[in-house]
Amino acid sequence: MSRALATESVFQVISCPTRRALLDTLSRGEKNVGELVRSLAVTQSAVSQQLAVLKRAGLVREHRAGRFRYYRLRAQPLAEVDTWIARYRAHVERQLDALGQVLDAMPDEPEEAP
């Protein structure tokens, strides 16, 4: 059950546009809060608040260097999302295969002729 909860939280985390923008920006390299505020054009408090959520979800790692805290993307939890999408996609692909077979077996009706 805890696994299901963990999965859910990753999906919840990435359902927020600001958090996705933060992850996108961090995917290009580590940044401090000031740099994130400038590149996203949102307030510092919004960035700090969303970074805290990302940290709790294990999607971002923080470290101190001098006066600044730097943030780095930790992408491993996103593998859950990939797994879910791959499974759902495979299911839809199988149904579309079956639909193709049904179509091949269906006679054309006169008004359906191309």
């Binding site: 999965t7 859910e8 990753v10 999906f11 919840q12 990435i14 359902s15 927020c16 999302v81 879910w84 999408i85 759902y88 996609r89 839809v92 692909e93 149904q95 579309l96 079956a98 639909l99 193709g100 077979q101 049904v102 179509l103 091949d104 269906m106 054309d108 009706e109 008004e111 359906e112 002729a113 191309p114």
Partner: protein
């Protein structure tokens, strides 16, 4: 969240693909068995299959948008508590297909139904 989109070309006219997407007897041949389905906005139906561990064995469906031979959009609730605002979309496009055929494009949200906010 972004949608996932899968596109298939079928060498059949859109009217025929539309029939396979909307005629309950034909739907049962490639998907699940529909109960009470009609391609009419507001129609509520169930798609029934064998229950499995972790799944109740039917999907509740509400038709949200219909454009004959072009577009079918419906909500798809596979388990209790899932969010009906996350519709599935099936779009048919005769223009984009290899002629004489149809391109069927299926879109679904890239998150599980109980995962969003």
């Amino acid at each position: 969240m972004t949608d996932i989109r899968i596109v298939r070309d079928y060498p059949h006219p859109p009217a025929k693909v539309w029939r396979a997407l909307t005629d309950p007897a034909l739907i049962a041949l490639w998907a699940m068995r529909p109960e009470g389905f009609a391609a009419v906005v507001g129609n509520r139906s169930r798609f029934v299959a064998k229950p499995q561990r972790g799944w109740r064995g039917f999907v509740e469906c509400e038709v949200l948008e219909v454009r004959e031979r072009e577009l079918l959009r419906y909500s798809w609730i596979g388990n209790e508590g899932e969010d009906a605002r996350r519709p599935l979309l099936a779009e048919l496009d005769a223009e984009g297909a290899l002629r004489p055929g149809s391109a069927l494009s299926v879109r679904f949200p890239a998150t599980p139904a109980n995962g969003g906010t």
